[in-house]
Symmetry: C2
Subunit: 213 residues, 2 copies
């Protein structure tokens, strides 16, 4: 159940996940706004309880009102691959929840992304939450399937934790489709740092029926 | 690799995951601030590219500066179960990335939480990202182990997707320890709505060695 990926036959150097078009000014504006919101998230997670928390919260609500007042996205736009590329919670530059992970083709038929995760993503002290690693891998395996020409949904994902993944350390997330048989697609991936592989995943994906893609 | 949970013997009605003490004013302030930041995140994800995005981003950066200037948490505080309860990316009221899921004992030895996930958590149009479901389940299985008296790390987690989980719909996340043998613990869980079970998970967890707990 990863985010929608291009329909079969659309995957190519023009795959929106792999080679985004130069962003229009509007998208750049949203990315700038999301980056600022991401910094707010990080400072809130790091904050000693400020004496004036209520005042600061009121200021954030006022800005939220301003942003909301500037126009809301119409629902049909959500059902759009370019929109989801920009807004998903893993690689979405327009989504403050996304680290964001930046993903590209790895030159061997798979995909590779990098991110450095801070304290908002913490599980064990000083380390990335295991569920966040699962989130990154589910997404990257979906992109790998898209790059291989399959628009697919996750049927199951198995994530193995080999050693804790440190925060504030650049990590590399790799994904690759390993086989396909009818509508069933298998993909694997890893999260690694200079210290080796920390997390690995394998998954079974089911291609969206062509008449629904 | 879930967030740290209380050491064996500490799990009880006083388990900080299950029965939080009344929050001190400072924690309430941070929770208020995090709630406001969560609303900023939601409005950014919904925003039509505003003409004054750069100005709005500058305002957010100014507030981030104010929050950061009010005092940063000292590193030792991160290695603290109460701190992690408040700041983790799933149930943490102080973490704007967390929905937050609210979890309590289910009366049969397991734990149950509810959340309603909005567009920042979207994968397929109108539905929750599969990796977000994995994140919620990894966390809730860890809490279930804690409630059963085990401080443990995830060795592997297998998540099965039965049907897409709709956004903006209250979902129920359940977790339960099913067995333990030496340091190996097995736990299972589900995410359901009024339409049945959407996602299920099983995992193997390894208890933290008592001398390290």
């Amino acid at each position: 159940m990863t985010e929608p990926v291009p329909a079969e036959g659309e995957a190519s150097p023009a795959d929106p996940h792999l080679a985004p078009e130069p962003a229009p000014t509007g998208a750049e504006g949203i990315a700038q706004l999301a980056a600022a919101a991401r910094r707010v998230v990080d400072t809130v997670v790091h904050a000693d309880p400020p004496a004036d928390a209520a005042l600061l919260a009121a200021k954030l609500h006022a800005i939220a009102d301003e942003i909301a007042g500037s126009g809301r996205i119409s629902p049909p736009r959500w059902d759009n691959p370019e929109h989801n590329r920009d807004h998903n919670p893993v690689t979405g530059a327009a989504n403050p929840l996304a680290p964001p992970l930046t993903v590209s083709a790895d030159g061997t038929g798979g995909v590779v992304g990098t991110a450095t995760l801070g304290f908002p993503y913490q599980g064990p002290p000083g380390h990335v939450h295991g569920g966040i690693s699962a989130l990154l891998l589910d997404h990257v395996l979906g992109i790998a399937n898209a790059a291989a020409g399959h628009r697919a949904m996750t049927a199951w994902l198995r994530v193995s934790y080999h050693r804790p993944l440190p925060l504030l350390t650049e990590c590399t997330v790799r994904g690759k489709r390993v086989s396909s048989e009818g509508r069933k697609i298998r993909a694997t991936g890893t999260i690694s740092t200079g210290h080796g592989t920390h997390v690995s995943a394998e998954g079974l994906f089911v291609a969206v029926r062509p008449d629904l893609a």
